[in-house]
């Protein structure tokens, strides 16, 4: 124990954010990334779970790469409560001194993490889109600013733990492995837990509404280059397979290939997808000004010199309709149900 106390750098902890488990798999994604980073600093990957009757999540985190799970399971932890979770997290971190503490950039995570960092007087990088370990064994955190127009790389050289909140969808989770073994460490919940000063009066899950294009992680934008209304319709099939939303340029909306709701641009909606597919779109400023923060832009156009192709990560010179059909076939082949 003393040895562990003296030698930090042996743990990467991931906060188990299970409240929206099925929509939001960021904890699993972070466990997977932590496993990739761990060998460079000789660390063990740990999950931290607070709640009531959370054993199914504990098992799930082990099956997805956690080697140890610290769990505080108690009826008083039933609701997600920032102050109570803060109290437990602070004590846990002071006791086990992880080198790195990663938290999903959910609304809760982004409210909780800064306060943990403040209590421990350490640094925190918000909403990261990349994590690496450098030659000095430090966590290099990549974070966007100015609406994704600028990207910064940030380190916390001295203070520990190094903390980051990470945008959901940045990393890929490991496949579920029922055979994985993990250690479970039970964290006692003190009887004199401070009474939260913020009281939850009422909480209800928002009625499930259709995903809006403004919030979609993947947007598939079609332009006039899709060629016809029938071909444009194929984008909806591609979107269904990817859990994406379909956007359109103005000529498309004017030709009634798509509803006005789909219009992306100065006269329509602002989008912030993680991944943007742009098919048969020239890339006029009135359209592209509304695209913020996309980590990956994939443009498909017959004309390699179109403005949209220049601003893409991947510029595919092809017929937009044929590309869409090929994409649909490939997705059907690859998606494991």
């Amino acid at each position: 124990m003393t040895e562990k106390m003296n030698k930090p750098g042996q743990r990467i902890c991931v906060f188990g954010d299970y409240r929206n488990y099925f929509q939001n798999r960021v904890t699993l994604q972070l466990l997977a990334r932590a496993r990739e980073l761990a060998p460079a600093i000789g660390a063990e990957v740990c999950a931290v779970v607070f709640g009531s009757q959370v054993s199914e999540y504990v098992c799930e985190y082990i099956a997805h790469g956690a080697q140890t799970v610290y769990v505080a399971d108690d009826p008083v932890l039933k609701d997600y409560c920032v102050e109570t979770y803060l109290f437990l997290a602070e004590h846990l971190i002071r006791q086990y001194r992880p080198d790195i503490f990663l938290i999903g950039a959910t609304d809760f995570g982004r409210e909780f993490a800064p306060r943990v960092a403040k209590r421990l007087k350490t640094g925190l990088t918000a909403d990261c889109i990349g994590l690496e370990i450098n030659a000095d064994g430090l966590l290099v955190q990549t974070a966007p600013s100015f609406g994704g127009n600028l990207i910064a790389t940030i380190i916390t050289p001295e203070k520990r733990p190094q903390m980051a909140t990470v945008r959901p969808g940045t990393f890929k989770e490991l496949p579920h492995n029922d055979a994985a073994a993990g250690r479970i460490v039970s964290i006692p919940v003190p009887s004199d837990l401070p009474i939260p000063r913020v009281r939850l009066v009422h909480s209800e899950r928002k009625p499930p509404r259709e995903q809006r294009i403004e919030d979609a992680g993947i947007v598939i934008c079609g332009g006039r280059g899709m060629g016809s209304r029938t071909k444009f319709k194929k984008l909806f099939e591609m979107a269904r397979l990817m859990g994406a939303e379909v956007g359109a340029t103005r000529p498309v909306v004017h030709s009634h290939w798509a509803d006005h709701d789909c219009l992306v641009g100065q006269a329509g909606k602002n989008i912030h997808p993680r991944i943007l597919f742009s098919l048969g779109v020239s890339g006029a400023i009135q359209h592209t000004a509304a695209i913020h923060d996309a980590d990956l832009i994939i443009a498909i156009n017959k004309n390699p010199n179109a403005a949209m192709m220049k601003m893409a990560d991947v510029a595919i010179v092809a017929d937009a309709g044929q590309f869409c059909s090929a994409m649909i076939r490939e997705l059907k082949n690859r998606i494991r149900e």
């Binding site: 409240r19 929206n20 929509q23 609304d107 809760f108 982004r110 409210e111 993490a113 800064p114 960092a117 403040k118 007087k121 640094g123 925190l124 918000a126 909403d127 966007p144 600013s145 100015f146 127009n149 600028l150 990207i151 910064a152 790389t153 940030i154 380190i155 916390t156 050289p157 890929k172 000063r197 009281r199 939850l200 009066v201 009422h202 909480s203 899950r205 990817m242 993680r274 000004a289 980590d295 990956l296 994939i298 390699p304 192709m309 601003m311 893409a312 990560d313 991947v314 510029a315 595919i316 010179v317 092809a318 590309f323 090929a326 076939r329 490939e330 082949n333 690859r334 998606i335 494991r336």
Partner: protein
């Protein structure tokens, strides 16, 4: 009616560059901050509007507080034009380069010195430049007061604050007692319009209180970049980062290359498990780089 003393509200506002016209050097990827035109951070404006509505219905004294270069005085004047009663500018070259931990520490000191008897602090939920959403929650920790982030609606009854917010697909109603802190989301409180004439008056009238590090009792070692635990290694423009890989050939081939190179990314965002390679494909066209 109870004869309660007037509510004291503090609104933290920050000046940010106007993003639509960012003058940056695309080669070095650095922002020419000195050339950027400043404006009040949008979420801070919503926070100020929330404070003004509280003032309208309950009566309140509003102090706006900003830490920044002398030029940030503009947004404080704007806050006076909108209806704030007093404005404080914390400006000191030694404070520059603070990260959120140190920004919240510095703001907390200024509040403790200048408005120790505050009832409610309102912050924007996040800034459009650094986008951290950390300063509000960290300021509450520093002052050891209850806090709620991403508030959409706030009501005050006596010493009790009741708040509505959306958080991770939940609609929540929360309560706390004053003194406390909220960060206001841009979902509620659309800011009022200030006429040019109002702005002009604010520029002529209202004094801005200026405070340096010494005024609020801080020392060089406590503030600015040197006190901040994080270090920025590098900043670059995301356009310069674009890989711009060009793929030609049949659509089928391009799609396969796309999945080979970006399958992890696609699968992560889709939250679906994807097979890593296509079983009907010949082995010989798989590794072709």
């Amino acid at each position: 009616m109870m004869d309660s003393p007037m509510l004291k509200l503090v609104v933290c506002v920050k000046q940010v560059p106007m993003v639509s016209e960012l003058p940056w050097d695309s080669k070095t990827g650095t922002l020419k901050r000195n050339m950027a035109e400043g404006m009040m951070n949008p979420a801070c404006k919503h926070a100020l509007e929330a404070a003004l509505e509280i003032k309208n219905s309950h009566g309140a004294h509003i102090t706006t507080l900003s830490m920044g270069p002398p030029m940030a005085e503009e947004i404080l004047r704007e806050s006076l034009a909108m209806g704030a009663d007093r404005s404080i500018l914390l400006t000191d070259p030694r404070m520059a380069g603070a990260d959120t931990l140190i920004t919240s520490y510095t703001l907390a000191h200024a509040i403790a010195k200048e408005c120790p008897d505050f009832d409610l602090i309102l912050c924007g939920c996040q800034t459009s430049d650094s986008e951290t959403a950390q300063v509000g929650p960290q300021l509450a920790e520093e002052l050891d007061i209850p806090a709620v982030a991403y508030v959409k609606q706030v009501e005050i009854a006596g010493r009790r604050v009741r708040m509505q917010r959306e958080s991770d697909d939940f609609l929540e109603t929360l309560e706390m007692d004053m003194p406390g802190l909220i960060t206001v989301s841009t979902a509620g409180y659309p800011p009022r319009y200030v006429s040019l004439c109002g702005l002009q008056l604010a520029f002529e009238a209202g004094d801005i209180v200026r405070r340096s590090m010494d005024d609020i009792g801080l020392e060089s070692a406590d503030v600015g970049m040197q006190a901040s635990p994080t270090r920025i290694l590098d900043v670059y423009s995301s356009i310069a980062r674009k890989k711009n890989i060009v793929l030609k050939g049949t659509p089928k081939k391009s799609v396969e290359t796309l999945f080979d190179q970006f399958g992890d990314k696609l699968s992560g965002v889709m939250a679906k498990d994807l097979k890593t390679h296509d079983h009907d494909r010949n082995d010989d066209d798989r590794e072709d780089e």
